[in-house]
C-alpha cells in the first residue's frame, strides 16, 4: 500500500513570508496528525484531525499557523508569517483511528528553512 505522501520535501523562505505544506494520508485512515520536529528534538504534535474535524490543536500557534483537512482526506498546513524559529521538519502521520492500538504511519517530512 502507498505510504503517507508529503510535498514539498524541502522549502527555503525568508522570515515574514508564507508557506504551505501538503499531506496525503494512507487511504482509509481517518486520523491525520501534523508534527513539528526541531533539529535535535523529537517530534511534537501540532494538530490532530479525525476525518475533517479538529480533535486537538492545543499546541498549534494559531496566530501564525493554520491547518485544514477538507473532505477528510488531504491536509494542508500553513504558516503566515514565518519566523526564524519555525525552521524545522514538518511531519504528517495518519492512522486508522485515534486509539493507542492504531499505529501512526509517518510521511518523509518537509524540511523548512526560514532565513
Amino acid at each position: 500500500e502507498a505510504g503517507v505522501a508529503q510535498s514539498p520535501r524541502y522549502k527555503i523562505i525568508e522570515k515574514r513570508q508564507s508557506v504551505a505544506f501538503w499531506c496525503n494520508p494512507i487511504s482509509g485512515h481517518a486520523t491525520l496528525y501534523w508534527y513539528q520536529q526541531i533539529l535535535g528534538q523529537g517530534p511534537k504534535l501540532l494538530i490532530q484531525f479525525q476525518n475533517n474535524g479538529v480533535v486537538d490543536d492545543s499546541q498549534l500557534p494559531k496566530d501564525r499557523f493554520s491547518a485544514e483537512r477538507l473532505k477528510g482526506v488531504d491536509s494542508t498546513l500553513k504558516i503566515q508569517p514565518a519566523k526564524l524559529e519555525d525552521s524545522a521538519v514538518y511531519l504528517c502521520a495518519s492512522s486508522l483511528g485515534g486509539h493507542t492500538s492504531h499505529e501512526q504511519y509517518f510521511g518523509p517530512g518537509t524540511r523548512l528553512t526560514v532565513t
Binding site: 528534538q41 523529537g42 499505529e103
Partner: protein
Amino acid sequence: AQSVTQLDSHVSVSEGTPVLLRCNYSSSYSPSLFWYVQHPNKGLQLLLKYTSAATLVKGINGFEAEFKKSETSFHLTKPSAHMSDAAEYFCVVTIYNTDKLIFGTGTRLQVFP
C-alpha cells in the same frame, strides 16, 4: 505527566557487536511505550511497542525491548549491529488512554565497519 528520557544522544558501535539504547519513562499510569526509527530523509517507522502484555517485546529487524517497571526503563537492544541500523531512534510514550505520542529527544546510532 508522561515523559521519556533517552539517556544517550549518540551511541557508536562496531558492526556485529551488541546495541543498547537506553530509555527511562515517567508515567502515573501503566504506560504504552514505543520505539521508532528514523533513517535520513525517510519517515519515522515503528520498531516495536509495549501495551501491558509481555514485558519482553520483539520488533522488526532483530530489535527487542524489555519493560522493567521497577527501573522505569524500556531499553532497546539488538544482539548484532548491522550497517543499515545506523539511524535516529526515538523512545515514545502515550498520554494515558489516548493516541497522543510524547517523543524523547532521540539517540543517534552510528555503526562502524
